[in-house]
Amino acid sequence: MMRVYLDFISANLKSQMQYKLSFLLTVVGQFITAFTSWFGLYFVVQRVGAIDDFTQGQVTICFSVIMLSFSIGELFGGGFAVFARILGNGEFDRILIRPGSVLLQVLFPHMDFTRIGLLLQAVLVLGIAIPKSGITWTGAKAALLCLMILSGSVVFFALFLLSATFSFFTTQSLQFLDILTYGARSFGRYPFCVYGETVLKFLTFVIPLALVQYYPLLYLTERKTSPLYALSPAIALLFLAPCLAFFRFGISRYKSTGS
């Protein structure tokens, strides 16, 4: 079964690569555009020196963790961006009459490989931030950083899933839901505490992005030592469960389109 999905990916990759120059330019474009947002951050923090006691290197860790998570989430969740079309053109009917996972059939043929540009940029910035952050790196802390990225990717993936699921219920444009994904990416450039108590609570208990960024950063910088802070990214993974349940509910409300 897994082989089928790998076949999907390779077929998709092949068709995206069919126009090599266009593919390459999009990747490069993504890479460069991503830098503009990093420069924006760089100069702001340069001027003010530190944000809420976080040094420039530490803020950059936040930035790159969120960017990396976002780009991984979007790379895998590319199918969600075109989900309304999948529902509208009958592709979803085809997915449902095959004995495979609905989610994987949606995702694998639509992975957006041009996101590699964004991904590379985020890795590069992370590489710069790690030595500059003033964090005394240990094996455990490196593992925590990886966990932050992993959980962050899952949370962004879940957010893409969540906003796609709304397509089951309405045919209207749902661009306001982009605030969940693109909005969160912009917000996430700074440690989430800078937005105040209310926003931080929202990002802790409703959309757990602070659990993959702010709280573990406190642990990394040794402002907090409770293991709870180190485990918070793992707790954030739970966010996927209600999103998946909502997606299942959406399938049961699927209307299909006229033949």
């Binding site: 089928v4 449902l96 009459i97 095959r98 004995p99 033949s259």
Partner: protein, 331 residues
């Protein structure tokens, strides 16, 4: 074995009047229209049956098929197919069914047919030996050998449909759903598809559920039809019986030479045409009710008056029957 009982499904569709003003209004308040796609639909199909499902556009044919395929979840009612509820046990259920939607391709657009087949093989986990046998058989019967290496997007409609049918049968399904399988096909392709479906049903005992607007599909393939209109199942019966129910009348088509025959009680003139005035050759289309006047008596009476060159007797066609049924049930 398919058993459906009391299936109902409604859709809510947003609607607005045309025009910019109304578009703005729709931003704030929307009017919804509830469409009852299925109302209390019940029927059952035995293993190995071929059932034709007919009804005008928008009657609920596709909704029923999609419910049986596990694509749609009905609001209420039961449907059990081979002991499973399609939408609840979707993955196991779809392994045992094959589906062809005439209007939509089930194959991957950009890749060659053979590769699509291989993807399906992996997806349905078809045993290599079984796959080879099925592929060989289907390639032979549907004449696919030349087109296996062609990408789907380059196929003609008829070629594509043959590939779709092959694709739906690679995993030996017990039930085959065909939603308008002959739509847009040329005469030869239509005949091929019909012949193949019939053969498959006979040799493999595959149950076939078929929707179509082409009554010749129904006539060629199935004895039993289900008529659906406005979401309700209106009739479930045998094609011949339905024809009789609608109209027992026979149509008599004669060609004659000589005197124009005089008509008599029990026979009604539908059309008349003179082919050759000099040679006195003409044609007549007559209608009679065999309850009042037997066909043989009518022909005898006509033959006494003139020289009959040709006589043909027909029932109403399936097309006429469907039109009459739609009229009778006001759908």
């Amino acid at each position: 074995m398919i058993e459906c009982e009391g299936l109902s499904k409604t859709y809510r569709v947003a609607r607005r009047e045309a025009g910019f003003g109304n578009a703005v209004k729709a931003l704030f308040s929307r009017e919804y229209e509830t469409i009852q796609a299925l109302r209390d639909v019940s029927f059952s199909v035995r293993d190995g049956e071929i059932v034709g499902y007919i009804g005008p556009n928008g009657a609920g044919k596709s909704t029923t098929i999609k419910t049986m395929c596990g694509i749609l979840t009905p609001d209420s009612g039961k449907c059990v197919i081979n002991g499973r509820v399609p939408w609840r046990d979707r993955k196991k259920h779809v392994r045992e069914i094959g589906v062809v939607f005439g209007q939509r391709s089930q194959l991957w657009w950009d890749i060659p047919v053979a590769e699509s087949f291989r993807l399906l093989r992996d997806m349905y986990k078809v045993e290599p030996a079984v796959y080879r046998r099925n592929l060989e058989e289907l390639t032979e019967l549907l004449g696919l050998r030349e087109i296996l290496k062609t990408p789907v997007r380059n196929l003609s409609l008829g070629q594509r449909m043959r590939c779709e049918i092959a694709a739906s049968l690679l995993h030996d399904p017990r039930i085959l759903f065909l939603d308008e399988p002959t739509i847009g096909l040329d005469a030869v392709s239509k005949l091929n598809v019909r012949r193949f479906v019939k053969k498959r049903n006979k040799e493999h005992g595959t149950t076939v559920i078929l929707t179509t607007h082409d009554m010749q599909d129904i006539e060629a393939l199935t004895g039993r039809i289900l008529l659906i209109g406005k979401g309700r199942l209106l009739l479930d019966g045998n094609l011949e019986e339905l024809k009789k129910h609608i109209s027992p009348k026979k149509t008599l088509h004669i060609k004659y030479q000589g005197k124009t025959p005089r008509l008599f009680e029990g026979i009604v003139l539908l059309e008349e045409k003179m082919d050759d005035t000099e040679a006195m050759e003409g044609q007549m289309k007559l209608s009679l009710d065999p309850g009042g006047l037997s066909v043989s008596a009518a022909i005898e009476a006509l033959a006494e008056q003139t020289n009959l060159l040709d006589v043909s007797v027909t029932d109403i066609t399936a097309e006429e029957m469907v039109a009459a049924l739609y009229k009778e049930y006001e759908i």
